[in-house]
């Protein structure tokens, strides 16, 4: 039997007994969490505190030198900038378009459910697939997008090869892939809204867009905050589609923090700087997630 910490009569409360009985159920998840989450994070922290060229944790020469190396690397700071650009440049259009499309999806029309399901397909498709398809669409000489531009009289674009355009091309894909998910969550949120305020506004003769702006949006704010939090966690860690399509190029123009760390650790085998850059990225995710969680709490307290 597991020896529970006994403190007088409290040892036999049902709560204590349940805790004693739960260890076998908890064991698998605890072992997995320790081995695959807690241990790697501690190990990576140790690596980041070792010298820049270390291949393993150097316990006898712990130093902040590696962090200094990373934080004085101009490519690292450009990766921070690219990350924030992709983050803000994708999140705002996703929220605006997602809200508009979510409103359209919430209108009851025959066959609406099938259409809703179909819109979700891009969000649940592998990034490799998305990357492959858009490589073909973006192909400078053969891609269908440049052909369509030519038809309407706009010159052909070098979508992925031009350092000034590549981030915007990736943002366009990001908006395409994840707006449907935002729209579906907003749509579910709209369906959960109380109908009284909207009916009252209609009786008062308000136009649909006035109702949406003054009544719908404030009521949707909690839902939008959660969606923004979910997208923030994914966007700040942006890796997949960018790495698949450009590997961070040309000239590091699309190197995000995650791609920077990956290339450091696995292409150049610089494990310590890679770990340090990852810890910086993790701190950024936690910071932004904390901000949105705080906003969410505040809007819950207000309502």
């Amino acid at each position: 039997m597991a020896a529970a910490t006994t403190r007088g009569p409290a040892a036999n409360t049902p709560e204590r007994r349940r805790l004693r009985e739960s260890w076998a159920l908890l064991l698998p998840a605890v072992i997995i969490s320790l081995a695959l989450v807690v241990f790697p994070i501690l190990y990576a922290t140790g690596l980041a505190l070792s010298p820049p060229d270390a291949t393993d944790i150097a316990f006898d020469q712990l130093t902040v030198e590696t962090f200094r190396t990373v934080f004085t690397d101009p490519v690292f700071w450009s990766s921070v900038w690219v990350t924030m650009l992709i983050y803000v440049g994708s999140l705002i259009p996703q929220l605006i378009l997602g809200t508009l499309i979510g409103y359209v999806l919430s209108r009851h029309v025959p066959g609406g459910r099938i259409l809703q399901t179909l819109t979700l397909v891009p969000s649940l498709t592998a990034s490799v697939v998305v990357g492959l398809v858009w490589l073909l669409l973006y192909d400078p000489s053969l891609g269908i997008l440049n052909y369509l531009l030519e038809v309407v009289g706009i010159p052909r674009q070098d979508w992925l090869g031009d350092p000034d355009k590549v981030v915007w091309s990736l943002i366009l894909i990001e908006i395409w892939q994840w707006t449907p998910l935002v729209a579906l969550i907003v749509n579910a949120g709209i369906r959960n809204l109380p109908s009284e305020p909207f009916e009252a506004a209609r009786v008062d003769g308000a136009r649909w867009w006035q109702t949406g702006w003054h009544i719908g949006l404030p009521l949707l704010r909690p839902v939008l905050t959660v969606v923004a939090l979910l997208r923030t966690v994914d966007l700040v860690r942006y890796f997949d589609t960018g790495y698949i399509m450009t590997q961070g190029g040309p000239l590091n123009a699309s190197t995000t923090m995650n791609i920077y760390a990956y290339r450091n650790a696995f292409a150049e085998l610089r494990l310590a700087p890679g770990s340090a850059a990852q810890l910086a990225l993790f701190a950024l995710v936690l910071l932004l997630a904390g901000l949105f969680t705080w906003l969410r709490r505040r809007s819950e307290l207000e309502s």
Binding site: L25, P28, V109, L115, P122, L124, A261, A289
Partner: protein, 277 residues
């Protein structure tokens, strides 16, 4: 203003909006499907030759020359294994968290959800090299399944929590007064009541681990590669075989698309992360 006429107009407007939405979001997907049934020269030309006849050659070549079936099996083994283990361990843990609180454990699963994958990957790769798990085929399968638990376990815990919390405490306490211990209550009473939750968590976990490409990119070897990584490797091989690439893309996208179509009603609530009750 005649109200029935304005309703018809509103409906018409909604359908027009739907058509625009579908063309924008499904156009590239439809083009991929069309491309998988045509030769590269017909796909990658300006404009694409939409009059050409369809053929299954790309798929046949993929499975005959590229041994794509093996990579398909690898994907199923890795994602299926990670989903089953994640579901089992996640259900046990979510039940305990629902009954006992255990904030530290839920915090760890949240960290796993938020930390960037490379953070886990660097140490795990160092350890894997020490154990020789990068070259050995069986060890590498086990490694890949275990590492994908970083995705599936937190998802299962978070998706199942609301289902376990929804079971009335009175039922469980009554069982315990009748002499069931916590494990028996879980097995006999709680688990059968959350079957829908298990289906949702299973489907979402499978989709996410199927789509996640970073872990396999850094850890898999030639024999254990899933389809996502081999498709990525195809890109780099000199001349673009667009037809073959699109066929590979269709095969990778097909299972997740089918699961999405079947489970959409449950998916949105699961993916909404508590935004929608």
């Amino acid at each position: 203003m005649n109200s029935s006429r304005s309703r018809t107009l509103g409906m018409l407007g909604t359908y027009v909006a739907y058509v625009v939405i579908l063309v924008v979001f499904l156009g590239p997907v439809a083009f991929m499907f069309w491309g998988s049934l045509h030769r590269s020269g017909q796909i990658a030309s300006s404009p694409p030759d939409f009059t050409a006849a369809a053929t299954f050659d790309n798929y046949v070549k993929l499975f005959q020359n590229m041994d794509f079936g093996r990579y398909l099996v690898n994907s199923i083994v890795i994602s299926g294994g990670a989903t089953l283990i994640g579901l089992a361990a996640g259900a046990c843990a979510a039940y305990c968290i629902a009954r006992l609180g255990l904030r530290l454990l839920s915090l760890v699963t949240l960290v796993a959800r938020m930390a960037p994958g490379v953070l886990f990957l660097i140490p795990l790769r160092v350890v894997a090299i020490k154990f020789g798990a990068l070259e050995s085929v069986p060890l590498n399968y086990i490694l890949l399944i275990l590492v994908h638990l970083i995705i599936t376990l937190p998802l299962c815990v978070w998706l199942l929590l609301p289902f376990f919390e929804g079971i009335p405490t009175s039922i469980q306490e009554a069982a315990e007064i009748d002499g069931c211990n916590l494990r028996r209550t879980f097995w006999v009473i709680a688990l059968p009541m959350v079957k829908p939750g298990l289906a949702v968590a299973g489907v979402i976990s499978f989709i996410f681990s199927w789509n996640y490409f970073l872990f396999a990119l850094a850890l898999a070897n030639v024999n254990t590669l899933p389809m996502t990584v081999i498709a990525f490797n195809f890109i780099g091989i000199g001349q673009y075989d667009w037809g073959g690439l699109m066929a590979a893309a269709v095969i990778i996208a097909a299972p997740t698309t089918l699961l999405t179509l079947f489970a959409q009603r449950f998916l949105v609530r699961g993916l909404a992360g508590g935004a929608v009750k």
